[in-house]
Amino acid sequence: MNKTSQAGTIQVPKDRMKRRRRQQRRGLVASYLFVLPYLCLLLMFGVIPVIYAFGMSFFDTISGVFWGITNYKMAFQDYRLEEAIYNIIGFVALWVSVTIIVVTGLSLMLDILSRRVATTIRTIYFLPGAITSSAIVVLWLFLVDPLVSPFQAVFHMFGWEARQHVVNGLGMVSLFAIMSFFAHSGGWIIVMGGALSGLSREVMEASRVDGANLWQQAVYVKLPMIWKSVALMGILTLAGGLQIFVEPQLMGMAGPQYARSDWSVNQLAFQYAFSMGDFGISAALSTMLITVSVTIALILIFATKFYQVK
């Protein structure tokens, strides 16, 4: 059967082959037409801005002269950059470790509850994800004000009576880590819930029969099976954390004493472009941030199997 059909293909008449080639060409054109609108946006808001900023970072943009890596040198001579780098390293270290420990812990705990209860709790954990960007900072500026906060009893225990005490007591790094954790961890708890529910029932049953209690099951059976999701969460949280901008930028809403316009690297890049009109240094800082982010993305795509391109 197979043989005859193969023989059939060999004897395709010439005009039929031509027709097929024409069809293929038409198919190709169609594919490009489908992709074209997206391709335009991809070039305009993905590829070209990066190349443009990269090119600009080698120019004195105020007088329009090429001057090599001077912008990078000047950026590193700015004492604020070193401080900003320490700030974001501290923030990222805290946010990533708290996310890994608490999200994994809560997810494993939720996994022993009945499905319906767990789903309800996950939804509540996830709701703060609706509060994003500026609203999250507004909400937290209320939450850290002992005069109005629902957590005022906790603050009083530490002897913090005013917002300034709480902000100083926690420190900016922890405050931003708490805000970010509050908004983003719920989504990850849902992801982990998905990963856990995908684990084989037989393995769970077998470990139970072997006498593992819930604690042992969580730590020795489930955790090793979801560690890849945990790693992905850590890496994506790290990539996002390096770009922090909104939280420090908006602290000034509570008054000038809280305003920090150069706390993170992104803020510094913004400062150079908007307060000093020096797009070259701004572009240099952006290029450095993008390089780190794209490197992380490339590692995830090519060195791991999280995203597969078939």
Binding site: L39, A130, F142, Q243
Partner: protein, 294 residues
């Protein structure tokens, strides 16, 4: 032996429940407080117990102060938010669905490069590229326009990825093949076969694109300089900065104080909350698709 084990068991159960309960307080109380506090007066916020519920009249008065302030400014911002979101969502759908389809079911030179670039753009946090996009749009004269922000937010690589994953895994090959045999060309195939099947992924992309657009702060902040063009997240901060509503001893007559700031925050947050609760299924599917291999 077995009795002792059962005992320690319930202690650890108790520990688990209390930690989960602690989680409920951490995630739930701030939201609950926000909605309750929006009904209270400035004085009540400071002097009454934290979960006191205010009055309907008070909430209405606050709402009136908020909306009428500065010539109904916040309503204009809300209108802008709707325009940006509608524009951004439509553009991302119009580009993502056909592109995802072509990337999934056809083979053409450059396909792999587009996929890899899309993944890089998707994994790279959107904040990383805000300033370069600003520099580019400034050169094009598109900063501080509706069009500039809509075009920039219409680029939604996560949508392409979702659409690509959907069409790679959910299009029945048999249906496609028989339609092709029946003489459908590529466009007919897409419009009559693929698109009607794609409703779930259209909803999914629209959902995530809406979330990204509605809460867009950093890009809007950098691109938009005139208050008339602000969206709600930007307007919220402009409102608070100009009135000093969050500084406890704001000394001015501006009717924007804490209750108004709280209601303004609710206006920013509420549409997303409603969409979240209505579309939980999509949230779950999309997050799993985004975080795990397709």
């Amino acid at each position: 032996m077995s009795k002792k084990r059962k005992g320690s068991f319930s202690v650890s159960r108790f520990a688990v429940y209390s930690m989960l309960g602690f989680g409920l307080i951490f995630y739930g109380v701030p939201l609950l407080w926000l909605f309750v506090a929006g009904t209270r007066s400035q004085v009540s916020l400071f002097s009454d117990p934290v979960f006191t519920i205010g009055t309907w009249a008070q909430a209405k008065e606050t709402w009136h102060d908020l909306t009428s302030y500065n010539d109904f400014q916040i309503l204009n911002w809300a209108k802008n938010s709707v325009i940006y979101s509608l524009g951004g969502v439509s553009l991302s759908l119009a580009t993502a669905i056909p592109a995802g389809y072509a990337l999934a079911v056809t083979e053409f030179p450059g396909r792999k490069s587009i996929l890899v670039l899309t993944l890089i753009a998707m994994i790279t946090p959107s904040q990383a590229i805000v300033l370069p996009i600003f520099l580019e749009l400034l050169a094009l004269g598109l900063n501080n326009t509706y069009l500039g922000l809509i075009l920039a937010t219409g680029f939604f690589p996560f949508g392409i990825y979702l659409s690509y994953v959907f069409f790679s895994s959910s299009l029945p090959k048999g249906v496609m093949d028989s339609a092709r045999v029946d003489g459908c060309n590529r466009f007919q195939l897409f419009i009559h076969i693929a698109l009607p099947l794609a409703k779930p992924v259209i909803a999914l992309v629209a959902f995530f694109s809406f979330l990204a657009n509605w809460s867009n702060y950093f890009l809007a902040f950098v691109l938009l300089s005139s208050e008339k063009l602000f969206n709600l997240p930007l307007g919220l901060t402009a409102l608070i900065n100009s009135s000093g509503a969050l500084e406890n001893q704001a000394a001015n007559d501006i009717p924007i104080r804490m209750p108004e700031a709280i209601q303004a925050a609710i206006v920013v947050v509420a549409p997303v909350l409603v969409v979240f609760l209505m579309a939980q299924r999509y949230v779950r599917t999309g997050m799993l698709a985004g975080a795990e291999k397709g």
